[in-house]
Symmetry: C2
Subunit: 450 residues, 2 copies
Amino acid sequence: MTQADRAAALAKLQDFLRIPSISTDPARASDVRRAADFVMAELRAAGLANARLVEAEGRHPLVRADWMEAPGKPVVLLYGHYDVQPPEPLDEWISPPFEPDIRNGNIYARGACDDKGQTYILIQAIARLMHEHGKLPVNVRVLIEGEEESGGEHVTSYVEKHPDEIRADAAVVCDTEMFAPELPTICVGLRGIVYGELIVEGARTDLHSGVYGGAAPNPIQAIAEILAALKDRSGRIQIPEFYDKVRPPSPEERRAWGRLPFNEADYLEKEIGSVSLVGDPAIPVLERTWAQPTLEVHGIRGGFTGEGAKTVIPAKALAKLSMRLVADQDPAEAVAQLQAAVERATPPGVRARYLPFHAGAPSLIDPTNPFIRLGARALTDTFGTETVYIRSGGSIPIVGLFQKHLGIPSVLLGFGLPDDNLHAPNEKFYLENFYRGIDAVVRYFELLGE
Amino acid sequence: MTQADRAAALAKLQDFLRIPSISTDPARASDVRRAADFVMAELRAAGLANARLVEAEGRHPLVRADWMEAPGKPVVLLYGHYDVQPPEPLDEWISPPFEPDIRNGNIYARGACDDKGQTYILIQAIARLMHEHGKLPVNVRVLIEGEEESGGEHVTSYVEKHPDEIRADAAVVCDTEMFAPELPTICVGLRGIVYGELIVEGARTDLHSGVYGGAAPNPIQAIAEILAALKDRSGRIQIPEFYDKVRPPSPEERRAWGRLPFNEADYLEKEIGSVSLVGDPAIPVLERTWAQPTLEVHGIRGGFTGEGAKTVIPAKALAKLSMRLVADQDPAEAVAQLQAAVERATPPGVRARYLPFHAGAPSLIDPTNPFIRLGARALTDTFGTETVYIRSGGSIPIVGLFQKHLGIPSVLLGFGLPDDNLHAPNEKFYLENFYRGIDAVVRYFELLGE
């Protein structure tokens, strides 16, 4: 890319990042729509004249576009998302989350890497090819959603109900990360997810802890007892039959993971920063985060948490609780197992229930698939280094949907870095990877068109 | 009291209740001061010309007054507090917490019973006697504080440093409740309290639960495991040696409690409203709440608790945690026991610490003391029913301070009712008890002066 191309692409990315398109926050609905409009306009500017919004009642719009003028060439379905995670806690951001700031070759903003920066790579690659050749070397369908961080209901129903409109030979998803700087990476496995709320109710109203303490149930104590019962102190999940369908990695995969540049002490010190890691030390860290399920509390609230003291026994407590699942676990089965375990763990005096918000299946893709192999070659050509195959502990439910409803593999071309602070304060994207990402996708389309 | 006297007293009480004097909230400092000014002005209007504020840097003022013109008569120290608990959760109040509303003979407002209504009983009793006789039958010292709900640091240091200024034969404290409607009650035992925060820290920053789940420590999970380890499922505290110094009630006390009008099924259904009670069913409920210590979580927060979903592993979690103590437990010893138990219960990967904010010793008063007996007689005369002796599960640390630094008993004349919703939404005070409380204190002063 020329310096002028880079500067122009960067300026547009900054415009994109300034939009606080937080899909979980109803108060941000108009901002989410502005982000959809931005994506549609950029696709049109890139030369996809039929870029359009797909609307559904009460949902954030999908952005769709098609360019099908390369007969005999493969059809690729390009996926990304324009919504972002909430930015809280705000006081930990060095620069404001929606005022992109460039420091040391990185751009800092909520969504910089996840997933606006990577989504915009796809759009820029199309724009470059259309600008240079007036056409693309492959057929392209674009599907960009605005609910990836809030359950993806709209895209889910769209894929289920309109598979013919996005029929393709493979999907290209830019929403993952490189294993290490300068190490081009394709992700072939993703964990599934179930996310919901654990709600515990005790007395009818908040009670004075002096007057009633000792006889009244305490929902915070109860939620603590339930959470503690669901895992042992080493982090192993104590839900019967939960691990039964977990497929262990193959010996080849384990050997390949063992060759990756990974140093557990560095990981602990530089990425985590806690006194120690958790989980079974007999299982390597990469296998724990890629090929083992989790049960994780994301938030908890109950009672008085303001400044100072209030001697209350609250009537209710709530925790946000998810499970990450690995092949061949089934989300519905995992929910039922968890609900049964919650019921068994509930102490006297309270009522407890787990209500799932959304779920996505885990996925594993065969690395010998030709779309995967050409993707790896495009990365290798761009970065000048052999591409590695990894898995991710994260969840991209769309990959399972594409597999199920379109019968196609997803090629996960990821350009994030491990220290990009996804879902955390000071999220960033390494700009060199933004530019090389565009080059790599251009190269990939060219290889697919040969 | 005449109807005109009642109406005048009620109007003034409403003015008092309109002041949001929340002592734990720094933003309410000027309101807390307004409440102090109100009390001072009312004492002056009652005839105690030397009513004044006692200031201390960074603290809410004390209100002091003295009337020592009854030579040879006892000196009573009148205690109350003009600060209130925070009103949250606001949306559960039927009428706004600082707009007193009268319904069915009750006045609803934060502080109506705890403790503005009861504090104002003392002031009105003085006013009535001064108005009718131009003098009081006993010597009176008044000490009204504004930090009872936030640790009472100012009054503590005042009692410790200036005992001679409040030297008295007995204290009169109006901050407790009647055992049942129409049953005049003197409380002779109070639980002590230690209140503080349990803080658990894991990673340096919030982490993505997909990328790091399975290896990174989760402080919410850890705080849940710690809380769960501190109690068993029946509610018994699992801190070694914690119960060693608990003094059981005497056989006489247990028999007297057994005669009180208490129905466990009604208590569960009408006061608590949960599916069942907690605690050892072999110990009667009144003994559980009056004569057994507790460990109670009042609030918990960590991670994302807004609407929707955020897949984060938070860096930190926090719980507000208190212990209620009974004679002869020692607050400092209980803190040390709890801190040691927290350290043992802390799972791998996190750091945890318990930081106490404030503490107060438990107290037990001898019911044969003449000030107690005359107080019981004043109540019996006013209500026309024999007075009962009870204990309270709540904590009034000032009672322990008066015992320790002044060597005097406290007479707890309580006019609240069990359903007054102390520390909860829709706090109320039964107006008939407000008026009879004034009559009873007038009668008590007359009996003491005979």
